[in-house]
């Protein structure tokens, strides 16, 4: 038998086995009884709450059998089977800050599972765990697992879960909890237990479950994976009860792991796709707006095919690596002009289509005006139409479209492109080729304008964000590189100056604008890139890193190669500007916007911070001429398989 055996006391009660927490609970009561024994011998027999005599409890009656006779070990617990299930899903890593609520799973991963497939990645904060999973999924296209306490762990993780939810990214979370109140030992286990652990984040989960048995866990685990991976992809959460993790697996329990078959992503209705093709072919000035259009490298290829077939400009909103940055049809730098002149606009997985078509003015009277011409036809293809929740407002303002196709854009592009090809006459093709030639010229002009603009403040100190990005590009362009950070706060200089043409070269952004995403997402993406030998590059905002800098230690500890260059503008700069707007509005104290927003006095020494966690670091670098050599030194470290950080003092944006 693998069961923990019990002795005389439990045999008298008619039970033949005791589960782990029964034993521990009684041990605790026994200890309390031991402490009370001297008083009991001197006083009247104690009475219970109803006045009934309560017999004194001695160690003998409590434990009955000497511990030496107990079977205190077990060959296989429920958590081993849970690891079998996790392995069956092909999950490579578990990111977690260790927690007693999942100690069974933790031990099973590292011993029973051999700490490989999944490998345990030690994180210093649950927000980092989930954000690492977020970044990893952006590169790998599938989730890693996150373990967390059902209470404090999920509370820490909440913002990062929200980011992944808004960003339509699959994250696979397993949270420990002890549902049976009689099985909780101490004060800590009580405060770490919760009736409904998923409740606090359910508004931004796609699915969650509380399995009550191991077969139930297996079904729900496979189901959760499938749901997370079906567009629109989102985080899922499973609760792994402590009893289920730690109790022995009964010999007579038949366990099997259901087969995983991922759902084919939904394609657009054929009639609607044909109508979209007709509108696009007939348009004189069609425009494609791509937001989270490409889920995989295939999506990038498919969007190129569509754009080239139609010779239509693409405005890449860059929440994914949608379109090559230097492709002649990439007209992202002319978005306003193109939207204004468009007669048909195709939105692909646009999270905020309305905003792309309007100008909004943030003055006392908030006003908006449409950018589009009257009569413009709007087509939307998005899987977000297939899944909506009410509370959090990430669905953005309602766009009034003419043709709404509730489907996954990447999966729908082949049929759309094929329909367009079927409608193109030779005359029309000729017109489209002429149109494309004009865009090729415009693209070169945009590139030159970007370079001209980058020359301004070229030698400035603090270093301009354009100079920083140009120095980086010079040192990585001949590598197999991957930019694992968001570029909005550096004026999109990478997309304006660099040549992106592979899917893994950019991971997009946070999703929910929850600060603290950047550093751990970069480390998570770098973790995914490691096995491909790619050079991961992170342009890191200082305020973001201050949320949970412990992820630097995670990178060092697990030998995750990552080149980080700080965009250290020494402030929560977006908020500096927000406060400035308010100060100006009230005409009082326009010189005080840095109060509460600046990160100075003292400035943070990111070099020492990084070095303290085992990360190679240099800085602060204030002279732009010193940046290139520092990057090259850091690259040597990264190519050796370690993380490195360069602290650069930069212009605000």
């Amino acid at each position: 038998m693998n069961y923990v055996q019990v002795g005389v006391a439990m045999a008298k009660s008619g039970r033949t086995s005791v589960k782990r927490r029964d034993f521990l609970k009684k041990a605790a009561v026994g200890a309390a009884a031991l402490a009370a024994t001297p008083r009991l011998t001197e006083a009247q027999p104690p009475r219970g709450a109803l006045g009934c005599p309560v017999a004194p409890i001695s160690p003998e009656t409590e434990f009955g059998t000497p511990p030496a006779m107990e079977v205190l070990t077990v060959d296989r617990s429920g958590s081993d089977f849970m690891v079998d299930v996790i392995k069956s899903l092909g999950i490579e890593y578990v990111c977690a800050n260790p927690g007693s609520a999942f100690r069974g799973l933790h031990e099973s991963v590292i011993n029973y599972g051999g700490n490989k497939g999944p490998e345990f990645i030690t994180c210093c904060h649950e927000e980092s765990s989930v954000a690492m999973a977020h970044g990893y999924a952006k590169i790998e296209g599938r989730p890693l697992a996150v373990f967390a306490h059902g209470t404090v762990g999920i509370q820490h993780a909440a913002m990062a879960i929200y980011n992944a939810y808004c960003d339509r990214v699959p994250v696979y979370i397993i949270a420990g909890n002890i549902l049976d109140a009689t099985k909780r030992i101490s004060a800590a286990e009580w405060v770490h237990s919760v009736q409904d652990a998923a409740a606090m984040v359910r508004d931004y989960l796609k699915w969650d479950d509380l399995p009550l048995s191991l077969p139930h866990f297996a079904e729900s685990a496979v189901r959760a994976y499938k749901i997370a991976m079906t567009p629109p992809m989102m985080p899922v959460l499973l609760i792994a009860d402590g009893e289920l993790q730690e109790n022995p697996i009964p010999d007579d329990l038949s366990l099997r792991i259901p087969k995983l078959a991922l759902a084919a992503p939904p394609q657009g209705d054929s009639g609607a796709v044909a109508e979209a093709a007709r509108l696009l072919v007939a348009a004189d000035n069609p425009v494609i707006i791509a937001d989270r259009a490409a889920r995989t490298p295939v999506g990038l290829t498919r969007l190129i095919e569509l754009a080239e077939t139609l010779q239509a400009p693409v405005i890449d909103q860059m929440w994914r690596m949608n379109f090559p940055s230097r492709h002649p049809l990439n007209q992202s730098q002319r978005s306003r002009e193109l939207v204004c002149n468009a007669d048909v606009i195709l939105g692909l997985e646009c999270s905020d289509f309305w905003n792309a078509l309007h100008s909004f003015r943030d003055q006392i009277n908030r006003t908006s005006v449409p950018l589009t011409k009257p009569g413009v036809k709007l087509i939307s293809i998005t899987a977000s139409d297939l899944f909506s929740k009410s509370n959090y407002q990430d669905f953005q303002r309602f766009p009034q479209v003419d043709l709404d196709i509730a489907a996954d854009a990447e999966a729908t592009l082949p049929s759309l492109t094929e329909s367009i090809r079927g409608l193109l006459t030779s005359d029309r093709k000729s017109v489209l080729q002429d149109r494309g030639a004009q865009f090729a010229i415009a693209r070169q002009e945009s590139l030159q304008r970007a370079r001209d603009a980058a020359a301004y403040a070229w030698d400035a100190s603090p270093i301009s964000t354009a100079r920083l990005c140009a120095e980086l590009w010079a040192n990585i362009k001949n590598e197999d590189w991957s930019l694992v950070s968001f570029t909005t706060f550096v004026n999109r200089w990478p997309q304006r100056l660099w040549s992106f043409d592979k899917y893994h070269q950019y991971i997009g952004g946070h999703g929910g604008a929850g600060v603290g995403y950047g550093a751990p997402a970069a480390v998570g993406a770098a973790l995914a890139n490691r096995k491909y030998g790619r050079l991961s590059v992170n342009i890191q905002c200082d305020g973001d890193l201050m949320y949970a800098p412990g992820v630097l230690w995670t990178a060092a500890h697990h030998r995750i190669p990552l080149l980080t260059v700080m965009h250290n503008n020494r402030a929560y700069h977006q908020e500096v500007m927000q406060v400035q707007i308010m100060a100006n509005r009230h005409s009082r104290g326009v010189d005080r916007a840095r109060i509460g927003t600046a990160i100075d006095d003292p400035t943070v020494d990111f070099t020492k911070l990084s070095q303290s966690m085992g990360v190679h670091a240099e800085g602060p670098i204030t002279d732009p001429k010193d940046l290139g050599p520092a990057i090259r030194r850091a690259l040597d470290v990264v190519k050796g398989g370690e993380p490195a950080l360069i602290d650069a003092y930069t212009q605000p944006r």
Binding site: Q448, R451, A474, D591
Partner: protein, 215 residues
């Protein structure tokens, strides 16, 4: 050859900075005739959308909106470029409809509508302007050197390319996203200092001469 003017040239007369600054910001524009410009404004229907004084008009029913253009915050070159190749609903005015000379006149007229400024540009102090530029938060959106930012939506203003009066008018009553700086927050004299500082920002070398910008 059309007459020309150098913005900022008068700001530093008698100042040690004069030669340097004027050399650094030798921005040459054709100078238009304001009277002719008024005629162009009226005869080409500009007032139908932008108002009789170029103050801007909006139509709540149609959601049409034409911004204030008197004065315009655009440089003369940008203004001409926009009129020839507008974005949005504004019709294009090719050179056969409005000549380059007429455009210069129109620009002069629009800029002449800027309200009077209580500041003496010749007494402007660029060093104090730099201090004000930083402490009043201009750098936050426009960058330390006035290089502008696509993320903040702030234009490049270093070196500044519009005359002082339109500059002040825009700072007081911005038509776009910029927060307004009232006279209570920043005086005309302080704006003159900031303007002087912006004039001293150097025009960078050509991007083609920077190897890192040709990769």
């Amino acid at each position: 050859m059309s007459p020309s003017r150098r913005f900022g040239a008068g700001l530093f007369q008698g100042s040690p900075l004069a030669l340097f600054c004027c050399a650094a910001v030798a921005l040459v524009f054709p100078v238009g005739n304001t009277q002719n410009g008024k005629h162009v404004f009226e005869t080409h229907g500009c007032q139908q959308c932008h108002g009789n004084q170029g103050e801007g008009l909006s139509n709540a029913r149609t959601q049409d909106f034409a911004p204030r253009i008197a004065p315009t915050r655009l440089s003369q070159a940008a203004f001409a470029g926009f009129v020839r190749h507008p974005a949005g609903k504004m019709p294009s005015y090719p050179s056969q409809d409005v000549s380059d000379s007429e455009l210069a006149d129109l620009y002069a007229f629009l800029q002449s509508l800027a309200p009077a400024v209580k500041a003496d540009p010749s007494s402007a102090n660029a060093r104090n302007g730099e201090h004000l530029y930083m402490s009043y938060g201009c750098y936050e959106c426009h960058g330390d050197e006035g290089q502008g930012s696509t993320q903040t939506g702030a234009s490049r203003i270093g070196p500044i390319q519009i005359p002082f009066a339109p500059f002040v008018a825009y700072v007081r009553q911005p038509t776009a996203q910029m927060p307004p700086y009232s006279a209570k927050s920043v005086s005309d004299a302080e704006l003159a200092d900031i303007y002087a500082f912006l004039l001293t920002r150097s025009t960078p070398p050509a991007a083609k001469s920077i190897p890192l910008l040709n990769q």
